[in-house]
């Protein structure tokens, strides 16, 4: 289950790693430093994720990587019983969830300490970084006090 994968064995990590293409390099680069940062428009201050070239709100190309509080709530989830990639077969059932950060962005992630049968909308969460390999850190989330 996902909450059992919160501290991965680095030598044995068999799951697919994120494709480091374009701004994903920067996003995961900050994660490696245990910082959750999202793009924020320098002109109008609108946060966004996934990363883009332009601010869809005001049209600006000027972007900064702003640090998130890492605090959010559970927006939705699916609990996967049948793996669609063989690498995930040992983990079922695991929940792939969507977390909504306080600043607005939403992202796909895993929860490290909430089993799939305890999920409900709005659970308060905070980021928990998992250094899955020496090169790659995945942002995951754990329950926090409201």
């Amino acid at each position: 289950m996902a909450f059992e994968t919160g501290r991965s064995d680095k030598r044995e990590y068999k799951l697919p790693l994120p494709k480091m293409i374009g701004p994903a390099v920067e996003f995961y680069g900050f994660c490696k430093q245990h910082e959750l940062r999202f793009q924020r428009c320098v002109e109008c201050g609108t946060w966004r994720h996934i990363p883009r070239d332009m601010c869809a709100h005001c049209g600006s190309f000027k972007t900064e990587w702003a640090k998130s509080s890492g605090r959010g709530t559970l927006f939705s989830w699916t609990t996967i019983a049948q793996p669609m990639l063989p690498q995930f077969a040992p983990l079922v059932p695991y929940a792939a969830v969507i977390v909504e950060l306080e600043e607005g962005p939403r992202m796909v992630t895993w929860l490290v300490d909430v089993p799939p049968d305890k999920l409900e909308l709005g659970i308060p969460l905070e980021v928990a970084f998992d250094d899955v390999t020496p090169e790659v850190t995945l942002p995951k989330f754990r329950r926090r006090s409201p």
């Binding site: 799951l15 994120p18 293409i21 996967i80 939403r106 909308l121």
Partner: protein
Amino acid sequence: MNPLKDKSCIVGVGESAFTRGSGKTELQLMLDASVAALADAGLKPHDIDGIVGPPIGAPAEHFAANLGIENLRYAASVHMGGASPVVALQSAAMAVACGIAKTVLVPCGWNGYSSMRVSQPRGGSGNAGGPLAGTIGSYYLPYGAVAPVQWYSWLATRHMKMYGTPFETMGTLAVASRKHAHLNPNAFMRDRPLTMDDYLKARWVSYPFRLFDCCLETDAAGAVIVTSPERARDLRKPPVYISGIAEGHPYPADDIPSRPDPFVIGLTFAAPEAFRMAEVTPADIDFAEIYDCFSYVVLLQIEAMGFCKRGEVKDFVTRDRVELGGTMPVNTHGGLHSEAHVWGINHIVEGTRQLRRECGERQVKDAEVGVVTGWGDFGDGGLAILRR
């Protein structure tokens, strides 16, 4: 009046055999369907001068070369996953209405069981390509969310929890599709019963979807031929008019979590356009062939089309509405759930046959106007309003 309204019509429909193990290439399957559609229309291959090709399998050039179409005046393709066939119909309607082509072939199909079974992937990084590949590869893949049944579950879970939709609403659709399939000799599940109890006891695939919330995996193709009303007069079968048609895309189309409102889907934008074009309202619709890759996707589309208000689909989807004999039967052929997974081109084929009143035991009585939807990628949509 909208310049596309009733300016084109479907005059031929056809399909390949529906199997698990076709022993054919995808092009061969689609050529089988195309030849059947030509025969249905009473047309020869050289009568075709336009092709809106499928998103995968073969380009228009290969259809033209095999069928002997020497002068192909219009070739296009639509890349909207399961919305592609309905949106291809829009492209065909535009080409015919503008005089760019006189008669357009729309084929679609695949070896969805024997070649690229979604539930039995061979590793790698999942199935999606095109505009979604970057999002999935960089942001979903590390968390094992790589298949449609998982992505659409995010929408279903939130909607279900917010509006209290019971599993039985999803099951009502699954059971209705199966009952309809029993009246369809072409349906893959024509001999396999399904009860609500079977539905509720089935294994989980990806919560909130159990096995019978999911479409079939089959080798199958279909084809549709579109021409002008003038030309249709000389053909074998009565024309079925494309009265309203539109496409729509959720925003942003390439990422599900970041949508301001996750239940604003492609059809939310397409439906008002198509109904306005056809000059009808949801109350006028006699039957609905709704893209049913997964049960809850049908529920989201019913709300997005305005058949009921948001959150009320649990009260709208009842046996006495969606089953044959009900007030608006849904997926009268069995759909992707119980007929075959043909990317929804089988929904266009069925809608056409219903309006020609060729459907025998599963005929919707006095069918005058029906809707056909497509859903693909992360919620792209197409809506065709067809009338006899």
